[in-house]
């Protein structure tokens, strides 16, 4: 993609579609200290944290409600979805410096296809899934396939994107080659996080206490994995041996064996755990939605430290991902 200056979209009563923000010079360098970028959904800010000192360096403003992030295929920009602010913000992923923003309707969760062709955005409030051409950020197709589209994941060949529909209780497969829906499956109450994993699709069922395993070809549920109340999102460890499931209602993390999907352990994590990242030192950086804090958890010792951030921290990105190839690969960003 070419960056924020590429979108000719209209906005009511506003002169420019892309606001002419002063674009600050990109100051990324290899010498940058590692930072965590935390998206405070309720505070309309992005907290930039020095991962070494664990101090907040600054808060970058957004419009209303930053939720999730996506790294551009060239790893040069971090896209922040501001859902009720109807905007995508562009940050330097190494420094957290804001580079500009662009108005698009209701971006909630977003992810580039592995081949870098498309950027799929779920519009949870407006009930549509928008597929954009990644290079130009122009809309390729808009799907209206259910109520409250929430999270998404692609097949490794980028041909299919799977989207959970929170209110409809379904998982939908969209064929990106033909831009047509392929199948829709009732998966349970309030599905949220979605992940392609070893030839199957996993989706966390937030209105229940499990992860559903689906056959990507047919959409048939082949297995359910018990986790904990309010299973929300799923993350693969950089060494690809374990899966972490955040459980919003129970306030816990469930660790699963990545190969067998068998239960490994439960970690108490009160405060509404949402998204998380794995740091190179093995620690987990976890956004706690209802605690206004980020938890830094050491899975070896079990110790957890907290860093105060803005209200309702949601998505979290750590800059060490830029050089940590196993972690990038685990997140399907390499």
């Amino acid at each position: 993609m070419t960056g924020p200056a590429s979108l000719p979209r209209r906005t009511l009563f506003a002169a420019p579609a892309l606001l002419a923000l002063p674009t600050r010079a990109r100051a990324a360098s290899a010498a940058q200290p590692p930072i965590a970028i935390v998206l405070n959904s309720g505070g309309a800010t992005v907290s930039v944290i020095d991962m070494t000192t664990r101090k907040i360096l600054r808060d970058e403003p957004t419009f209303r409600e930053p939720s999730h992030w996506a790294l551009t295929p060239d790893h040069k920009k971090l896209l922040i979805a501001d859902s009720s602010g109807n905007a995508l913000f562009f940050l330097d992923p190494a420094t957290g410096t804001e580079l500009g923003h662009k108005l698009i309707p209701d971006p909630y969760q977003l992810w580039f296809s592995p081949d870098g062709t498309y950027l799929t955005i779920t519009c949870l409030r407006l009930n549509h899934v928008d597929v954009y051409h990644a290079a130009s950020l122009t809309l390729a197709h808009r799907f209206k396939l259910g109520s409250m589209p929430s999270h998404l994941s692609y097949t490794p060949d980028s041909r299919t994107v799977f989207v959970s529909m929170q209110d409809s209780g379904t998982l939908v497969a969209i064929d990106l080659a033909n831009m047509t829906p392929r199948w829709t499956t009732k998966v349970g109450k309030t599905p949220a996080g979605v992940m392609w994993h070893d030839g199957v699709v996993l989706t966390a069922i937030m209105g229940s206490d499990h992860v559903a395993v689906l056959d990507p070809a047919t959409g048939r549920i082949t297995r359910t994995i018990l986790t904990d109340k309010g299973a929300h999102n799923i993350f693969l460890t950089p060494d690809r041996t374990q899966l972490y499931v955040t459980n919003r209602v129970a306030g816990s993390l469930t660790v699963l064996d990545a190969r067998t999907l068998g239960f490994v352990k439960r970690i108490a994590m009160p405060g509404g755990p949402d998204d998380l990242c794995f740091a190179p030192d093995g620690k987990l950086w976890i956004a706690l939605r209802f605690a206004s804090r980020v938890a830094v958890h050491d899975p070896v010792t079990g110790a957890t430290d907290h860093i105060s951030v803005g209200r309702s921290p949601h998505g979290i990105f750590i800059s060490t991902l830029l050089t940590d190839r196993p972690a990038l690969a685990a997140m399907r960003l390499a």
Binding site: L12, F13, H128, R142, T190, M206, K229, V249, G272, S292
Partner: protein, 319 residues
Amino acid sequence: MQMMAQVLSHVPAHPFNDVAGWIEQTAVLPLLYRAGLMQWSELSFGWTLVAVYGITQMILAYAVCVPLERFHPLERWTTSKPVLVDVFYTFLARVGVLPIMTFVLFYAAQVQLDGFLADRGYVPPMLETIIPALFGHPVVTFALYALILDFTDYWRHRLSHRFSIWYALHAVHHAQRQMTFWSDDRNHVIDEVLSFLWFMLIGLLIGIPPLQFPLLILMLRFVESLSHANTTLSFGKIGDRLLVSPRFHRTHHGILAAGQKSCNYGAVFPLWDIIFKTADFARPPTPTGDPTAPEAMATGTYLAQQWSGIAHTVRALRG
């Protein structure tokens, strides 16, 4: 200095959020989970915060206004019974069903409009997109939103006095002869709906204000509560012209200012009354109430007042 830093380090960074977060995690989420309504979990934290702010605002108003009304009252009454219904109105408006309904209705309306615009290639406006220089200055943006919303509320309020049918409903607010800080939320439910629609229209035109300043929102609501207090308090010659004081607002509620002859319509800032020449800083305090309103509207129960508002409106419709 070091001691101060130590003390401050023990003060929670986000006390409202912490309380709301605890309620969310221990009560709201488990309730939503059991009810099969987890799809609303994203929004429920917002509702919980609104309730926490509402309760805090009520505590603040109580802590400040009760001593003022007790030690510096403007009027003394033998009974405070007619005030009790206003307490009920306040609970209903600040922490009860109404804020949640407002939240849900506004959300639904916003979704419809934003979706309609998005399908036509438009993105809904916000002050920061109308005036790009505001971006990155959230406090200034919030202040501008507050001014605009107060300005539009001035006109809503003025029009509610101008049209006799609308005023027949608004009379519920004015009928109280024992006006206290609890009287701020004493409104007919249809009048509340009209206010909500008015706010929604403005909100859709200029966007929803950034809500990351709970203390500022609390202060604005506090000014509205304080302005109804039964106290001799005035903010002085200059202060009364900057912020609506109990003295300024009492003139609006005075028996000589009921209905179409009213003045001092501003809720937070008297500026609009000054600009549009409806300000009256000279009139001495008078008893409050609306002599034309039915007695049930003044001293009836909540339901009697609501019914009386409808009957009064029907009479106004018939001329």
